[in-house]
Structures are given as structure tokens and as C-alpha cells.
């Protein structure tokens, strides 16, 4: 469970008191130690942890998509999950048409990028300057619209999508499915690529500058509007990765399969602090593992899984109102 930001320097720059940061790192370190010891103690625990991390990576990727958009425009994109769902259907369709899984995967990422960018240009940009709330409502409208369109094209029934991974291998006596290792690898790989783009390229620097201070970025010659559109494109790509990797863990493809994931991605993003990309990924992993262990060891509370997860989240928020890695806003109360 590594974070993406260079640990303390990044946090300090965000103006977090070092004391708070240390508490957070102690907490995360404690969690990691707990997981490690548990994995060594019990194979069942280890398996639950691995599959939890894999699913959590998908939540994290979707959460990262939400954070990218939130950082740039303060819009919470409710349509992110449905967009991921729709692009997964596109991958499914491409495979039906004869592409191999990974060809379809790559093509879908490209399509997702175009789709995300186009949505920003056509429906988000015109309202965003005038009202953030209106932009959020537009994304709610997109949620419903995309849902309807997918149902219209593919129907509401269950589909089976070919899984890219099969079989399992043995790691120190623990049987690990390729599926989970693959999910974890692909999602985190993509997340790392996006991180590298932001961290090491001129384009990435421009996107960060545009998100931080649009007016100053424009004065430096950054085409801020384009950066925001690209941000939506990248977010859609991350969502598509999350969708395509999450789908095999759900076994079935239905128009609603990303809705639960979106809820957990929200939780992950909030847990991480909404403005912290690394925090979103860590948050996703944490929530994935937490829920998986909960379901594995306390099956009697399964129907309360969501409320329970949110109760924990709310408790964390009450202690740290801006999430684990969030900037502390000026306290007003």
C-alpha cells in the first residue's frame, strides 16, 4: 500500500502539520503490519487480502478519476462509474466482433479518452464557468442518460465477458488467482503511468498548473480549457481501466455493475482527501481490503456492509474533516 506522492515532502507542501501526517502514516503502517501478520498467519486471510487489494485497486483507479476532475474543476462527476460501465460494454462489443482481449482493451482506452474529452467539451464546459452545482447536476443527468443508452443498445440482461486471466499460482502456500494478481498489476500499472505523465512531462505540468491556478497558468501560455478537457479524457481512461478490470471479479456484465464501485470510489476519494491522487488510490485499496475481510469473517453483517463502511468513513471524516491526505481548509466553525 504505497502512496503515490513522495511521502512527507508532498504532504508538507500541502500545508499539513507534520504531526497530523505522522499520525496518518502510523495508521497506514499499522494497517499494513496487521495485514502482513494476518497473511502470514492464515492462508484464508491472505487470499481475502489479495482479492480485496485487487478489487480495491479498481475502486482506487475510479477514485483517482474522480479526484482528477475534482481537483481541476471542483465538480464531483457522478457519471464516472457509468462511463466506466459503458466503456466496458464497448470492450465487450469489440471482443464480440473478433478482437482479442488486449486489442479490445487498448482500443477501449482510446475510445474512452475521446469520449471523456468530448463530454467535457460539449456538456461540461458551457456550464462549469457559470455554476459548479449545475455542472454536478449535468453529470447526474449523464449518469441517467448513459444508463439508458447502454440499456437501449445492449439490453439490461446479463452478459458474459471473456476474462483475460485464468488459473492460479502458489505463493508461499497461498493459492493466488491470476485474476487478482492481474487486476492489481494492470490497474496499478495504469495508475503509475498516469502519475508519471503528471509528474514528469511538460503536458502533465501544464495540467497540474491549470488545475491549481487557471488564471496564472493561462498567463504562462497553458491552454487551460484544453487541459481540463484532457483531464476528463484521462479520467475516462482510468475509469475504463477500472471497469474492465473490475468486471471479471464480478463475473457478470450488467448495466448496473459499476454503481457499487462508484459508491466505494467516492468513499475512497473522500478518505484520501478528495484533492490527493495518492490518497485516492490508498483509500481504494484500504476500502477494498476492509470490505473483503468484513465479508469474509463476518458474513452475518453482509447486508450492512455499505452502511458499516460509511459509518467508518464518517467517523474518520469527523476526526479529520478533509480526509487522510487532504488539505486542511480554513476552519470556519
Amino acid at each position: 500500500m504505497e502512496t503515490l506522492t513522495s511521502p512527507l515532502a508532498g504532504l508538507r507542501a500541502r500545508g499539513i502539520a507534520l504531526g497530523g501526517a505522522i499520525t496518518v502514516y502510523l495508521l497506514l503502517g499499522g494497517g499494513a503490519v496487521f495485514l502482513l501478520v494476518g497473511c502470514l498467519q492464515s492462508t484464508r486471510f491472505a487470499q481475502l487480502t489479495v482479492s480485496g487489494l485487487a478489487v480495491g485497486a479498481a475502486y482506487g483507479s475510479l477514485a483517482l478519476a474522480l479526484v482528477l476532475i475534482y481537483r481541476a474543476t471542483h465538480v464531483i462527476n457522478f457519471a464516472q462509474g457509468e462511463l466506466a460501465m459503458a466503456t466496458t460494454y464497448i470492450a465487450y462489443q469489440l471482443i464480440q466482433w473478433g478482437l482479442s482481449y488486449w486489442e479490445a482493451f487498448a482500443a477501449t482506452l482510446a475510445i474512452a479518452f475521446v469520449l471523456g474529452t468530448a463530454l467535457e467539451l460539449v456538456v461540461i464546459r458551457p456550464v462549469q464557468h457559470r455554476s459548479v452545482i449545475a455542472a454536478v447536476i449535468v453529470s447526474v443527468g449523464l449518469f441517467i442518460l448513459i444508463d439508458g443508452v447502454v440499456n437501449w443498445i445492449w439490453g439490461g440482461g446479463i452478459r458474459f465477458m471473456q476474462s483475460p486471466f485464468s488459473g492460479s499460482y502458489d505463493l508461499g502456500g497461498v493459492n493466488i488467482q491470476h485474476l487478482y494478481a492481474g487486476m492489481l498489476g494492470v490497474v496499478l500499472g495504469c495508475v503509475l503511468l498516469v502519475w508519471a505523465l503528471f509528474r514528469f512531462t511538460k503536458l502533465g505540468l501544464g495540467m497540474r498548473a491549470a488545475a491549481l491556478r487557471p488564471a496564472a497558468a493561462a498567463l504562462a501560455g497553458v491552454r487551460v480549457d484544453w487541459m481540463l478537457a484532457l483531464g476528463w479524457g484521462l479520467a475516462a481512461v482510468l475509469g475504463a481501466v477500472a471497469g474492465m478490470m473490475y468486471e471479471p471479479s464480478q463475473l457478470l456484465l450488467t448495466p448496473t455493475f459499476m454503481q457499487e464501485a462508484l459508491v466505494y470510489a467516492f468513499a475512497a476519494a473522500v478518505l484520501g482527501g478528495l484533492e490527493s491522487p495518492g490518497g485516492a488510490v490508498v483509500g481504494g485499496l484500504a476500502i477494498g481490503v476492509f470490505l473483503n475481510l468484513l465479508a469474509g469473517y463476518l458474513p452475518q453483517v453482509v447486508s450492512l456492509e455499505v452502511p458499516f463502511a460509511f459509518a467508518v468513513l464518517l467517523a474518520i471524516l469527523l476526526v479529520k474533516p478533509s480526509g487522510l491526505f487532504g488539505r486542511r481548509e480554513v476552519s470556519r466553525v
Binding site: H74, F78, V123, V140, G148, V149, V263, L274, V306, L317
Partner: protein, 311 residues
């Protein structure tokens, strides 16, 4: 809803229209217009919270669920009169709203939105856990059921009473305090308004409104309260209604309520696409288009028109 009652003329016009409609419409259409009345109550409640105290909630469906279940369970177990259950729902949701409002004090903006979102997701799960009392997936059937006309009358009477109540609240000291809180929290604290008191109060009032809407909502589904009816979509519908309504205008709230109350039903019959999906495609598209055209909602449009007329 600002300082004075909106032109009495327009209120009278609405009242007459509402009173005459049931005699001219088919039973199905009466139930549709009743639906609008139910959303009117919920949107009005959210309008008080968002518009007058600057807090946002994506979780008002949860309060509708609580109100609806209160009514259904009381009716099932004690055959309680529906008017009484409505008052109970109002009271219970008011208290719960205050309780939710308290932690909400520590959260702002997007965090509050997501916390209330969590509420909307979580509450409909509760009946599944306590299924003997709350009926599980099967839901709770009220003892009494009522006719479409009855619901129509109830929904619009509630609308009228609660609108008047909102006006009375917002007109006076409390309303001024709400607006002060919204416009500048720091200034409000400085001017001695007890910020937390009023923020919490706004949450309570608006939750109570949603509770009443929930009771009506359950009555409109033949007295049957079911978890799936209170999903996240319901919360989003109320939010959309409030956004389409805009701020503090009777006509705006009517438009917002009509938008979410009528459009999905009406567009179910769009021929090309087919029932359910057609509804989602049309409704989703309309939400996007309306927000593109009217980022400040219907109230914003009215304000602009009024400015045009005056100029």
C-alpha cells in the same frame, strides 16, 4: 418566499388550477399530478437547506424512506391514521435531520455532499438487516390504502401548508439568520448568530419536509414501502428537482417538481427507444439540456425575464 408572499395572484392561480385539475383529468393523470405534489414537498425542503443555508444534500431520499417506513409500519402495526403518521414522520425526520445536521457541521462542500450520499445509500439497506420489523426486501404494507384523488388532495394540501410554513419561517429572524449563514459564515459568526444552531435547524426542517414527502410517496404506491423504491435515484431526483427549480421561487419549485414528477413518466411512452430505456435516455438528456440552458434553474430564468420586463 423572500420577504413577502409572492404575488397573491400567482398563488391564487396555482391554487385554482390545482383545485380544478382532478375534475378534468383521468385517474392516471390525477396520480401523475399528485406525484408532482409529492416532489413539490421534497424539493421545497431541499430548497430551504441548499438555497437558504448553503448546505447541500444528496441524501434526502433517505429521509423520505424514513418517513415512508414510519407511516407504513405504524399503519401496519397500530392502524394509525395516515394524517397522524404524517405528523409523526415530520417529527421523527426533524429530529433525525437535527442529528445528521450535527456531524454535518464539521463537513463542508463536497464532503458534506458525499456524507449525505452515503446516507442515501445506507438507509435503504437497513430494512434488509431488520427484516422482521421492516419487512426485508418484501417491504411493508400499510393497513389502509387510499384513492388517487385522496393522495392528490393530501399531496397538494401538504404542499400548501408546508409552503406557508416555509414562508413563515424564512420571512422572519430564522430566515435572515439562514441567509447570513449562507452568504458568509465568518460574518455570521461575528454578528452573533449561532451558526451551528441555524445550520442544524435548516437540516432538521428540510429533513422533516422530506419525511412528509416520504409518507405521501408510500401512499401513492398503494401503501407499500419497499427498499428499492427509495434507492439513490430518488435522492438524485430531488436534487435535480431543486437544481431545475433554482432559488426561492414558487414557480421555480413547481417547475422543478413537475420536471422530476412528470418527465420520467411521460417519456416512458417515447415510441422509438422503448419503455424503460426511453425514459432514462429522455430524462437524462433533458436534465443535461435544461442545466445547459438554465444553469441557475427556473428561478434564474424568471429573474432574468423580470429584469427584462423592468428594463
Amino acid at each position: 418566499m423572500r420577504g413577502r408572499l409572492p404575488a397573491l395572484g400567482s398563488i391564487a392561480a396555482v391554487a385554482v388550477l390545482i383545485a380544478v385539475l382532478p375534475f378534468t383529468l383521468s385517474s392516471y393523470n390525477v396520480s401523475l399530478v399528485a406525484q408532482v405534489g409529492i416532489f413539490f414537498v421534497a424539493v421545497l425542503g431541499l430548497n430551504i437547506l441548499t438555497g437558504y443555508s448553503g448546505q447541500i444534500s444528496i441524501g434526502h431520499g433517505a429521509f423520505m424512506a424514513i418517513g415512508g417506513y414510519t407511516s407504513a409500519v405504524m399503519s401496519r402495526d397500530h392502524h394509525t391514521n395516515l394524517i397522524v403518521t404524517m405528523l409523526m414522520a415530520f417529527a421523527i425526520c426533524f429530529v433525525l435531520g437535527l442529528l445528521v445536521g450535527l456531524p454535518a457541521l464539521r463537513l463542508s462542500g463536497a464532503y458534506l455532499a458525499l456524507a449525505t450520499f452515503a446516507l442515501a445509500i445506507s438507509v435503504p439497506q437497513l430494512p434488509l438487516q431488520w427484516s422482521t420489523f421492516l419487512g426485508g426486501t418484501g417491504g411493508v404494507q400499510s393497513h389502509t390504502t387510499v384513492s388517487d384523488r385522496w393522495i392528490y388532495g393530501a399531496a397538494w394540501s401538504c404542499s400548501a401548508i408546508l409552503f406557508l410554513l416555509a414562508w413563515l419561517i424564512l420571512r422572519g429572524r430564522v430566515g435572515r439568520a439562514f441567509r447570513a449563514v449562507r452568504d458568509s459564515e465568518i460574518a455570521a459568526t461575528a454578528s452573533g448568530i449561532e451558526l451551528s444552531l441555524y445550520k442544524t435547524l435548516a437540516f432538521g426542517i428540510s429533513a422533516a419536509y422530506a419525511g412528509v414527502a416520504g409518507v405521501l410517496f408510500v401512499m401513492a404506491t398503494n401503501g407499500f414501502a419497499q427498499p428499492t423504491e427509495f434507492g439513490i435515484i430518488l435522492s438524485l431526483q430531488i436534487l435535480i428537482g431543486a437544481a431545475v427549480a433554482g432559488l426561492g421561487s414558487l414557480w421555480g419549485i413547481l417547475a422543478g417538481a413537475a420536471f422530476v414528477g412528470l418527465l420520467p413518466q411521460v417519456s416512458t411512452s417515447v415510441p422509438v427507444i422503448g419503455s424503460d430505456h426511453g425514459r432514462d435516455v429522455v430524462f437524462g438528456l433533458m436534465v443535461v439540456l435544461v442545466m445547459l440552458a438554465l444553469p441557475d434553474g427556473f428561478a434564474g430564468l424568471l429573474a432574468r425575464l423580470r429584469a427584462l420586463v423592468r428594463a
